[in-house]
Symmetry: C2
Subunit: 178 residues, 2 copies
Amino acid sequence: MPKGEETIGLRSRAGAGRGLDDMDRKISGVLARDATVSYSDLSAEVGLSPAAVHERVRRLRAAGVIRGTTADLDGPAMGKPMLAFVHVNTRGWGKTRSLLSLSAFPEVEEIHSATGDTCLILKVRVASPHALEGLLARVYDVEGVIGTKTYMALSTHLERGVQAGVTAAFDVDDHVRD
Amino acid sequence: MPKGEETIGLRSRAGAGRGLDDMDRKISGVLARDATVSYSDLSAEVGLSPAAVHERVRRLRAAGVIRGTTADLDGPAMGKPMLAFVHVNTRGWGKTRSLLSLSAFPEVEEIHSATGDTCLILKVRVASPHALEGLLARVYDVEGVIGTKTYMALSTHLERGVQAGVTAAFDVDDHVRD
DNA sequence: CTCCTTCCAGAATGGTGTTCGCCCGATTAC
DNA sequence: GTAATCGGGCGAACACCATTCTGGAAGGAG
């Protein structure tokens, strides 16, 4: 819906990605939306032979650009209709190490160290308020945790993985390189 | 790392998932980790014939339990090494509608309406501080936006999709149903 | 100019996804 | 208690696709 800005789909050997050319970005973009496409369809979409596409995908995987291919499950269907972001405050640094044990809970989907007025940001998906309570209890069990602040997601309007495209208007080259 | 709690992998027709039995959860769990496995390997892992597994996966897709299969890209490799959560405050409700236009930016990965001292939570992945500045400018362009608070992710310790498992100790049945 | 590297197209093949028909167990009605 | 009906899984056949190999063209470096 934004007005004039263009998404970079064609870019000649951009900065961060070492050997990532336009074709790689195009292929990655398609697979990031739907990885079930056959190499035949994929090759037709990007304008290359199936063999060439196969080789590129293999290298993208090997290089870690494509970290994996996963099935995206539905939270509510999995019995976890509640999504929340939990900001955790700890006393001093380094306490985040013990909080990594939270990875063992399938309810915890993301753990980030953060700047701002909080130390750690958790993304959790739980079955019920009671389940959230139980999870928060585990967080408080960790030594050094001072407090938490929970943001419940009332509705999710967009939720997707890393996108291949980059907005041209936000690109580094446009305004920084002068 | 948590001590005693068990993850439910086997559960007889739990509440939220209507027709989801143990086999469906097991299959979903495997595919959520790696969707590249062949039906042969998958069938061997869950203890079913390839044909039966195929039929179940087809139904899981049709039912929306498996929403899609996507390639997980690497942020830094895609030229977007910076991850941030942006909390947006608006004047009054209903302003979130216009903010949905942010979906057009590949930098925006998630948009949630939220409770707490904020209205909207965005998950954004950008190339540079300058790109983040440009994106924030777009947010402020939206009518009714009072302010934002940005939490930069210093390091990501865990980032994954919806998990099939549910922690037994957090389950509704354990303490609510008595 | 020549060699080297890199990349892509075309063809062959082994594996796999997909479908069909049959069989078994559970449920229901009589 | 018996029989009919339904749902689900198994085994096999077929078609499709992933994967590999070979050849050839384009771009650089010496």
